[in-house]
Symmetry: C2
Subunit: 246 residues, 2 copies
Amino acid sequence: MIELVGFDGDDTLWHSQGYFDDAQQVFESIVASYVDLADARLHERVLAVEKGNLALYGYGAKAMALSMIETAIEVTGARISAADLGRLVQLGKDVLQHPVELLPGIRDAVEAVATAHQVVLITKGDLFHQERKVAQSGLSHLFRRIEIVSEKDVPAYARVLREFGVAPQHFAMVGNSLRSDIEPVVRLGGWGVHVPYRSTWAHELETTLAPDEPRMRAVDAPDGIAAAVAALSATAAQGTVPDRPS
Amino acid sequence: MIELVGFDGDDTLWHSQGYFDDAQQVFESIVASYVDLADARLHERVLAVEKGNLALYGYGAKAMALSMIETAIEVTGARISAADLGRLVQLGKDVLQHPVELLPGIRDAVEAVATAHQVVLITKGDLFHQERKVAQSGLSHLFRRIEIVSEKDVPAYARVLREFGVAPQHFAMVGNSLRSDIEPVVRLGGWGVHVPYRSTWAHELETTLAPDEPRMRAVDAPDGIAAAVAALSATAAQGTVPDRPS
């Protein structure tokens, strides 16, 4: 059965992507003074720059700001003013300073899961920003451990679970990203509860998981999380779902 | 006696500050096309901007690049060209991509300490960049654990030692920064081996430790580290240095 439950942070415990989406809109409106957005395919180009910089910058608002500046210089042929580039620096700061707003019902959901299981927080992104959000969330006392990782992939989950001393088959992860929260945990032989968020960064939508994956449950809202974890735990105890090769 | 020894990463295991210093020189040469550097007090101003952004950005090359861009726009009255600001973005990438060059003798030093103690790596800065440097260093197999923290202060060391299950009086930290590597550990009741590096960021020089602090040894080069740890361990075993209030 399931001993340990991990929760994702951004867009699972608190709002995040919306702030990035807002910044993206302001970015486009600034660049629109210089080029035709459709002609310049700005949306595709900034996403391509962000993905190209991912291995160097990692995730987060500083990476966003630097990739926006790079893209803006490129698509305007370096015609963009320093003042407007300064506004892009500020966009990054705005995202870093946004208030931490919990998703409705999530505090109750974490508390409900915590009555039956150990819970930990496993989040990725900018180390400073994530720590500040955890501190401001008012939820940190509920978590036995808080792990901030640079990438949520199979090796990262394997390392974290080794450090926790928990085998993957006794671990479930709760999160909004199939790519980062569910798929790698299921591949390791663990379990996942998918709670979709209203907006997901394109990059996080990539997954090869089947929608009927038996090691995963999807719920519409936080108030379904505890029951989904309990159902997965019962399935795990019955042993009716074969272990995956790790 | 000392059970666990922590090593810092940047400028203790591998060169780092030199790359930031080089970037700083290029930054100044770029801005020098617009303003008189002395009149603009560029050096002081970029340091002030970096320190002002520290609580928001944290440490590392992305923070450096963003603070340079902000400073350059400010001191030039937004007259700097987009192309030159693009060169500042590139300076950040250059720092992130520099090769990992171990300090002479450090591999032998870590191996020597590891024969008598458990060793861990405790480093701060950009999560992505630190992980890449650890991987490229070829030293990661020597460390029982690798902890990347956002700030090396008393609460951070207290948390990490709690996770390791080691009391501070059985822990020594080896590093180049009195402020980040030695002082907080000594304040917790632990021990420190200071190995100065040829260049230290002004911010890291701030300390209130006395030069004759009995819980600290200073060595000139990595080949002195193992003996210094052994000497501190002997002192710890004798109990002649009183415990500090934590």
